[in-house]
Symmetry: none
Subunit: 235 residues, 2 copies
Amino acid sequence: MQSFKEENYLKAIYQLKIGDQKEVVTITDIAVQLGLKTPTVLEKIKSMAIKKLISYDKISGVQLTKNGFDVAVNIVRRHRIWETYLYKELKFSWSEVHEIAEQLEHVNSAKLIEKIYAILGYPKFDPHGDPIPDLKGVLPKSERRPLSKSVEGCKLLILGVSEHSDSFLNYLSEKHIGLNDRFVIEKIDGFDESLMLISKSKERCLVSAKAAKFIQVACLKENCACKASGGTTKA
Amino acid sequence: MQSFKEENYLKAIYQLKIGDQKEVVTITDIAVQLGLKTPTVLEKIKSMAIKKLISYDKISGVQLTKNGFDVAVNIVRRHRIWETYLYKELKFSWSEVHEIAEQLEHVNSAKLIEKIYAILGYPKFDPHGDPIPDLKGVLPKSERRPLSKSVEGCKLLILGVSEHSDSFLNYLSEKHIGLNDRFVIEKIDGFDESLMLISKSKERCLVSAKAAKFIQVACLKENCACKASGGTTKA
DNA sequence: TATTAAAATTAGGTATACCTAATAATAAAA
DNA sequence: TTTTATTATTAGGTATACCTAATTTTAATA
Ligand SMILES: [Mn+2]
Ligand SMILES: [Mn+2]
Ligand SMILES: [Mn+2]
Ligand SMILES: [Mn+2]
């Protein structure tokens, strides 16, 4: 068994590796992720290596063992299932669920999590569009993809950006496009592939094909024609 | 704010004082309750006294301050609401809920607990028959008391148990004593205080004085001689 | 390659939370 | 009232989980 501190280390390593697609996870990466100092992290990493939850060497950095991976996946799974339960069953708002799920993910009862997962009807994605791993750690194909791969009628959730220049971020704020905003694709231009988005408050904005490549979205519409690729995710 | 360790100390003190009706709560009492050694408890009690969560002196023992009482009541409230939710909404068995509630009681979200309490319809008692305190810490009045405080002729309704070990629960099922069953007290032995119960179907069963302390009942006989004292409850 | 920047590591310290063993203070019993 | 338990307290130790400051190693760059 492992403490919730160790669970948080394992989850952080999982996020860096699987979420952020880092080939090598460093002590510094983990320290930044958890808001700790590197000597603290190094010390813990050494002790977790002795426990065979991870392996660590300078060439390949920190890596999850089979055992460590199983624990990490389980925490991510619980987090995303709880977020979904809080959102769908208990009617919490989209922005409230993460903080509570950070606590609930450490409640250790397989029966409890499978029970609420069954009540939810075995969903594949959490309210942020992130994939819920199955009991073996296999992820459903992620809905996260660039805005450019949309079709008309997509119900989109803005998940992030893959470009961080000021000019691009200014572009987004001028168009009133923010993280976690929702839009529907009204029209995609046949010539230049620019996209007309409508917000919940019926505000329209036109996004160029170039910009659309750098906006990461998930389509929340069931069985939408857009579903066809992969990318990065967060809890 | 306080850690979940401190929450457990405060809850233990509350249980000893309000549940077990101890006038003076000692370091040893707390150590036994939490399965710790007295020096460990003394150290913590000193630090919690500095934090004004409790007071401690040899004459009056350990006492909850206003602040400490509020925290303790809140943990007990969360515990009992979660137990009820697990039992009623998530269909867990009577004997499974306590262990999971021990974890869930430390999840810190007033909104979450009030939401599930509303879903349950604001019940006054948990699945073991223990009272759920309101937000101010006031307990609903109940006729509930241990079977041991009976007199001959009491017409009893089994409301719950204040002990959750397998051996005790097996004892009850062997004697065919279950939740909501009714019995009359035929005889109380003058020497060992064991009780002979008769069920509606005229089945007799003998309950030891020790077991009777952990069986919670209400007496349905008007003006019965048994009505005259207090009792113990557990979470 | 020499210099500089970044990352990892070592050394040493603090706070919490537990323990055992020994002693002191109280309460109970003989 | 002595003796004996029980309870509380002190002293000293371990493990975890954090920190800062200094140093070493490795990588980048001029
Ligand atoms: Mn999420
Ligand atoms: Mn989250
Ligand atoms: Mn209960
Ligand atoms: Mn309980």
